[in-house]
Amino acid sequence: MASLKDMRVRIASTKATQKITKAMQMVAASKLRRAQTAAEAARPYAEKMDSVISNIAGAAAGPGAPVLLAGTGKDQVHLLLVCTGERGLSGAFNSSIVRLARERAYALMNQGKEVKFFCVGRKGYEQLRRTFDKQIIENVELRSVRQLGFVNAEDIAKKVIARFNNGEFDVCTLFYSRFKSVISQVPTAQQLIPLQVEAPAAGAVATSYEYEPEEDEILSSLLPRNLAVQIFRALLENNASFYGAQMSAMDNATRNAGDMIRKQTLIYNRTRQAMITKELIEIISGAEAI
């Protein structure tokens, strides 16, 4: 049986752990607020972008449409763009995104398709490397980035487009975690190339726009931009999700530590009491023997 001193040490160490998790929870909570505002501020732009593109795409569809919109006509090689966090200690946040991507990869491979990975974020890379090491064609780490800016997303989009233009893949799907609320983050897959355009609602009259310059010119500058915007949005949503997940994970950890401290203290007190009783009995029986 552990001595009283051992128990005291163990209680003290659990208390120290609890202090750390408590602090991490509070840091995550304050960072979450900022990340959430950033994610919400980016939504209108992405939504407007969507509606403008779907308007123009309707007009520019048909032969001669840009490949980013229409695709290469094949769907043999798939690129999975997996965005995860840079750090762990955030519950199931990273692994749930990775799991979704992995399931998709297996499903595609069973259909005889080729799958490639593009990892954004260290955690996803580390998890995917175990099973798909050879298929990871690129890995971007955003660890050194303090404040996520549009430029970060633009860099990633440029890399994706360069590979697409080289004919390295036909379909690109983005994986990230959508921030629904602090306690709920939904891992999401979104197809980027070819772009999935929402069909205009039946019966709605499509507005006929004038274009300045021509449609295809606008479209060719807009599509790469849209890719960057979607990636940017995914990164921001991911960021908010990460802090949300970390906050609830740390909250749990703090509560667990509290439970452990209570249990350990109880055992400690009981042992201490037992020892006192034992010593008393020894003294009394010693006195009686005389």
Partner: protein, 135 residues
């Protein structure tokens, strides 16, 4: 005077949203003004100064490229960067121009043309901002 709805959004935020009388847009193929009831148009915009007129008062916003869409619902400008003219840090802006100038020699072909064009737009923004600042 009839008003219409105007949204100015950049990836980082919504820079302007509300009812306005008139918006003058620096289009890639020339400036144009938008009033209520304008025909639907989609236009690429160049880096320049966008002027918003609301009830007689004017507001100048610097946009660094993007796209403008006029529909029956109003005007939407998707700007790469949108900053109110008053908030522009002139020193910072001048530094951006200097860096762009320094990067020019490394470029060739189309890219060079585009960079020169962009640089010209930036310089004209700088010129306009510094001349209006004296008033």
């Amino acid at each position: 005077m009839a008003t219409f709805h105007f949204d100015l959004v950049s990836p980082e935020m919504v820079a302007f949203s509300g009812e306005v009388d008139q918006v003058d847009i620096p289009g890639a193929e020339g400036d144009f003004g938008v009033l209520a009831g304008h025909a639907p148009v989609v236009a690429v915009i160049r880096p320049g100064i966008l002027t918003v007129t609301t009830g007689g008062s004017q507001q100048k916003i610097v946009v660094l490229g993007g796209i403008a869409e006029v529909s029956d619902k109003g005007l939407t400008v998707l700007a790469d960067v949108a900053t109110a003219a008053a908030d522009i840090d002139m020193q910072n802006f001048a530094e951006t121009i200097t860096t762009m100038e320094q990067q020019l020699p490394g470029k060739v072909g189309d890219e060079l043309d585009k960079s020169i064009e962009r640089l010209d737009h930036y310089k004209s923004i700088q010129h306009q901002l510094s001349t209006t600042a004296m008033h």
